[in-house]
Symmetry: C2
Subunit: 525 residues, 2 copies
């Protein structure tokens, strides 16, 4: 292990924490990810900072809460002067690249305002949230906006899949018995295999491209964000993963009839979304979840392939590996589909950290229940790269996991937070809220989970006695003291956001009380 380990930052999209065998799933097969957990530390209480792709990822990449970086929903551009993982690691000699998805939206207006050309090298980095876009592919290409020259589309065409948008027509579509094309956008089709061979599927291709990057990087220290689109919808898998699991493999839906009787108004509004209404139906769960699981096992197989590749090249012992996801997937739990709210199915994420260095031996193969947040990765990576994340504590809101990974005791955070901005969703219209009031905040101390909704009453769940979060404790008013405490914690958190980003705390320390020294002699007789 050199002083500058490589960093392999693997993200799956919409992968629930509990859909891994090592996290207790009763039927799924994820032997390679399980092996990583056995080689590293498995954080079982990790939360994303926003249970939706864009803001969650911007938090992963900036090390800052969504309230701080401001890109609070998909397609909200990240401010041009936010700093990202690439900005932090590049000065330490790292090549910091992306293969796959980021859901970064470029701030065109901000760039134009500052005269930054999107084509300049700086402009490209600003546009790609600091990553060198070795292969950027956000993985969702409706015909309306599909780029026929998307590299994966070109690749598929080279393999003989002829179409303007083979991503859709082949890699995310199936065929009926008469050869008619069945779009993967429709969940009723997702028990059928896609029209490309497994080795040409997105997960396989993305893994290949990661290998290309690693080969190209050679001896330069690298940080690769390998960011798979699957198991995100379209829920379509190649053979043999499309029917690897059956209905007997599906866990029961985490929901109760009571949840529909007197739902919280915001949750109720989400229950009316089409994705929720569909996933509330058993037929949909039975059609989708086996494929969702197959996509995860496929992903696992390719992670295994990638591990073999790293081992072959002698890099396995020199690479810090993280496996995580940007958020979960309700899959019908709580009568909801998709994500965006804060039940464990949606807000909790897998977080496995494999640090091959000797110092981490103490925690190898352990599970850790401490509260971990997505924003912890940036400081962790900075420290791994021999940087000093502490010196950036005027910007970074996460905590380096290094001491935890190294088995050092010490105080740790007491609460984790997540945020939702649902201004773009029908729920906002149903609730008749203006765009800046469609917000919600989650705070948990591990035992209690409290959710503050703007304009509506909060929710409280007891994760110890009600781990399935079926009983909202707010209406019975028996836990008002807990609610008050959690609300106070959230208030403290609001005031602690790091928005004074242009000057470091170190510099403040060294400049405190120096005005007189600098000749500004005020208050002198």
């Amino acid at each position: 292990m050199t002083a500058k380990p490589n960093i392999l930052f693997i993200m799956a999209d919409q992968l629930r924490a509990d859909y891994l065998a090592c996290n207790g799933h009763p039927s799924i097969r994820t032997p390679h990810i399980d092996a990583l957990a056995a080689r590293g530390i498995n954080f079982t209480r990790a939360y994303c900072q926003a249970p939706v792709c864009g803001p969650s990822r911007m938090s992963f990449y900036t090390g800052r809460y969504a309230a701080s970086h401001g890109a609070s929903y998909n397609n909200v551009p990240l401010r041009v002067d936010e700093r990202t993982l690439g900005d932090h690691l590049r000065p330490h000699g790292y090549r910091v690249a992306l293969v796959g998805k980021t859901h970064m939206k470029r701030d065109d207006e901000g760039m134009a305002h500052l005269g930054i050309s999107p084509d300049s090298s700086r402009g490209v980095l600003v546009s790609q949230c600091g990553f060198e876009p070795f292969e950027r592919d956000d993985g969702l290409h409706p015909d309306q906006s599909a780029d026929p020259d998307l590299r994966y589309n070109q690749y598929l065409r080279c393999q003989g899949y002829d179409s303007r948008n083979p991503w859709h027509d082949y890699a995310n579509s199936a065929e009926d018995d008469d050869g008619n094309i069945l779009s993967g956008w429709h969940m009723r089709h997702c028990h059928r295999p896609i029209r490309v061979r497994e080795e040409h599927s997105e997960t396989a291709y993305t893994t290949n491209r990661a290998m290309d990057f690693i080969d190209e990087a050679g001896d330069t220290p690298w940080c690769l964000h390998l960011s798979y689109i699957k198991p995100h919808w379209p829920y379509m898998a190649p053979a043999p993963y499309h029917n690897m699991y059956g209905q007997e493999d599906i866990p029961h839906a985490i929901r109760s009839e009571q949840e529909r009787v007197a739902p919280h108004p915001v949750v109720d509004a989400f229950m009316q979304h089409s994705e929720s209404r569909e996933f509330a139906r058993d037929e949909v769960r039975q059609r989708v979840i086996p494929t969702y699981m197959g996509l995860i096992t496929q992903l696992d197989d390719h992670i295994g392939r990638l591990m073999g590749f790293l081992e072959e090249r002698g890099q396995l012992d020199n690479t810090l590996i993280v496996v995580t996801s940007d958020h979960g997937d309700y899959l019908g739990d709580h009568w909801l589909g998709e994500k965006e709210l804060f039940h464990e199915s949606s807000a909790r994420i897998p977080m496995i950290v494999v640090d091959p260095r000797h110092e981490a031996d103490a925690t190898r193969g352990t599970r850790d229940e401490r509260l971990v947040e997505a924003i912890d990765l940036v400081p962790t990576f900075i420290d791994a790269a021999s940087g000093n994340s502490k010196a950036l504590d005027h910007r970074l809101e996460g905590r380096s996991l290094q001491p935890v990974v190294n088995g050092q005791s010490g105080e740790w955070r007491t609460h984790a937070f997540s945020e939702s901005d649902y201004a773009w969703r029908p729920a906002r219209l149903a609730l008749q809220l203006p765009p800046d009031q469609a917000k919600a905040y989650m705070v948990t101390d591990g035992r209690w989970k409290y959710i503050h909704y703007e304009q509506h009453r909060p929710q409280l769940f007891d994760l110890q006695n009600d781990p399935e979060e079926l009983h909202d404790l707010v209406p019975d008013k028996a836990h008002d003291e807990v609610c008050r405490r959690m609300e106070a914690t959230l208030y403290d958190w609001c005031r602690e956001r790091k928005l004074r980003v242009t000057v470091s705390n170190q510099r403040i320390e060294s400049n405190t009380d120096t005005a007189h020294q600098r000749g500004y002699l005020f208050g002198i007789w």
Copy 2:
């Protein structure tokens, strides 16, 4: 009056709201400012967003609270992608210029990071918070960092004041009877006249430069930020203003012995600062305040001169005029010097708005007690320039004063806010706080003023029954319900900060629930 009135945005530095005759000062002479109040509307409950130059001004220029723009103290650079008055008015055809002080600190690191050259035209605007620096002069030039080529220094030299730093040696120094130079940095000298003739003093020079700009601008609509350094320290005035007022003209110090008996810990720490210890002494007040008043009357005279100039050029009826300041000056009130805390002496500011248009006739010559904030000026100016400040309500946190000026009724804000970040001050060290915990927040509803200090108990004052703020009501616990309400208001305010700045609310409205339309067919069977 054309559709595009000129905007004359006059700021004095450290001018207390109550040191104007039109605001009730018993002895000061400010006839020209009084005349403006008689021609316009005088807001008697206006607050700065931070009672210290830098952050207050950044709020004035961005229309955003200090918590939002992040430049929370002097010399904290404003983020390069914040938008300022110039950015907002220039698209409407305005020339937006600065004559005088901004206390803007350039974000060198941010500019370098984005490859913006400070010498480029964009770089200059980013460096000068969006103003064309027709004449920038922050007005404080200790020998340690004085620029001999400062334009005012050159000017003074041309007038025969020979020195490397004539700003200090002549314009802010006096002489004793033997001709020895007495530095204006020392308050003991401030009863003596400065060593330049009145017409060469800073206030006169700054006014001249404003006239130069107005002449140069010609028929182009302009917004001039005329930003005087005085009556800010060094408290040094030219003859005859240096001894125009005597001890009999000084208002009594607003303070009580009780305030020193059991002070709030943070206030106590500020009381130990040298400026507070000095201003607690009657000798200091008696020496400084007559000169402070003389500087204000001098300023008033030059504002009169400028009004004459505008009238002569036929521009008086075509120019929206604002007179305000960035914060007050304790001058020994509450046993404090300088500013930074939230008593009326420090946080309240003059705010006179003269709108020559017919629509404003209804309020001409009136006093208005509604709560006004510094951040209200940017939207007011945008609307005056035929812009639409509402369309910028994802960034702007102030409210356009236009409807109030036009005498329209309607709901108005219920609370005003101000913030303090005293990380750089000795008080932080005395209180043993880390740099990010030296923060305080003021909220007032006009009747009550509540102050939240991080790590210390709050304060509460009853502005109706105790307008001098001598009795902190928190220790006696008789007003816990008021405190709870104010704290809840502050919590709401924290969550309402506008940090999702890269997308407008209008765009959110038009993009709500459009994913399916754009081909992202999730949740479809």
